[in-house]
Amino acid sequence: MRLTPTQMAWRAAQDIEDGAYVNLGIGQPEMVARFQPPGRQAIFHTENGILGFGEAPEPGTEDWDLINAGKKAVTLKPGTAFFHHADSFAMVRGGHLDVAILGAYEVAENGDLANWSTGPKGVPAVGGAMDLVHGAKRVAVMMDHVTKDGKPKLLSRCTLPLTGVGCVTRVYSSLAVIDIDSGHFLLREKVPGLSFDALQAMTGAPLHTDGPVADLIAPEL
């Protein structure tokens, strides 16, 4: 078994503390906001100048001055704040965010991240990813454990252009939860029924442990 993207988002949400300031990357990480554990309230930041925005509005009621970094419409909540782009990235680079959760093409055991370019073909686009990886106290990645054709995305060194050096602290994959610790992959959780050796075979660098590995179980979502 493996986790769906929705279940990965659920798992990532379980680690977000009450009161945390959180930036969620465009795409699958945006789903993390739907799974805040009861009793905890995170405040979400979007690069284009909003703190504390709410859910998507009903179709037809969008206000296109009120969008997130993915250009999707969001809503106001009590306590929402607006600010300009220099303040927004002061929040990012200045170390004021507690958590950033991003997607990735590759993560290396030294914490290097590649998530903005698949090479020289096509139009390059970086957005705020290179800034986000240098500011948040925790930089987590949410991604499938392997590529669509079964190749490892967790590697000894990234092969694609880097987004940041030594920046990732935790990976929520479709098969495991893995910390980056002193240049190693440290396995914390894996899906039940998958052996350590089978997981290692799908991982491009050695997996380490420093105690029991917990079962990675997410609810049906």
Binding site: D63, V92, A125, G127
Partner: protein, 244 residues
């Protein structure tokens, strides 16, 4: 003192061939569609201005606003962080054809370069892009045990910005997330031209609420009920309109 401009054509009349133009907005929010279209209309009537260097977070969407500016051939170079959108065909084709050059800048670095330009700071160090392709050729320095990349200020001849309310002295407020790059660009451009949804007399904006003080603004033009890029694209709009 009265910084109001009588119409959109007057507002964009000073932009000349080869100039650098900052355009506010993040995607469609804050995009000064009417000012951009006035610039296109002037180009279509006179052949000028052309060879512009445009600074924006994105590279346009669909066939209106910044995308139309590129499609109609006014832009030689684009400085942006994310040249992708729901419908990026105009920029993508121009980039692949080599008719528009691209300088890709991380979003926070783009914002800070513009801020620095307006603040008189010629260069600064940022952790962003250290160790990546986008730092190649740039000076690196170590501060307190971490490495940082030197980036330079970004200034422009003109800024075209959309604000919500503005008075005759150029004091501005913005509407929600449409603020984004507007305050930074007003300060970084020699001539900041702002379209406001509502033009008011000095004193009508609470001084506590002013976001961009008028010293950063050279011209204000009123555009009631401004178009939203997203709404135009959902209606498959083009500028200029495609004959039926």
């Amino acid at each position: 003192m009265d910084k109001t401009l009588p119409d959109l054509a007057t507002a964009v009349a000073g932009i000349e061939d080869g100039m650098s133009v900052m355009i506010g907005g993040f995607g469609g929010s804050g995009a000064p569609i009417e000012l951009i279209h006035a610039l296109i209309d002037r180009f279509l009537a006179t052949g000028h201005p052309k060879n512009l260097t445009v600074i924006n977070n994105n590279a346009g969407n669909g066939h209106v606003g910044l995308a139309a500016l590129i499609e109609q051939g006014l832009v030689a170079k684009l400085i942006c962080s994310f040249p992708r959108s729901a419908d990026p065909v105009v920029f993508t084709e121009a980039y692949k054809a080599g008719t528009v050059a691209l300088e890709l800048v991380p979003q926070g670095t783009l914002a800070e370069r513009i801020r620095a330009g307006g603040a008189g700071i010629p260069a600064f160090y940022t952790p962003t892009s250290y160790g990546t392709q986008l730092a190649e050729g740039k000076p690196v320095a170590e501060f307190d045990g971490r490495f940082y990349v030197q980036e330079r200020w970004l200034k422009a001849d003109y800024a075209l910005v959309k604000a919500h309310r503005g008075d005759r002295l150029g004091n501005l407020t913005y509407r929600m997330a449409a603020r984004n790059f507007g305050p930074l660009m007003c300060a970084a451009a020699a001539n900041a031209i702002v379209q406001v949804s509502e033009l008011v007399e000095p004193g009508a904006i609470d001084p506590e609420s002013v976001i961009t003080p008028g010293i950063f603004v050279q011209g204000v033009v009123e555009v009631p009920d401004p178009a939203q890029e997203e709404a135009l694209n959902r209606a498959n709009a083009h500028h200029p309109e495609v004959p039926a």
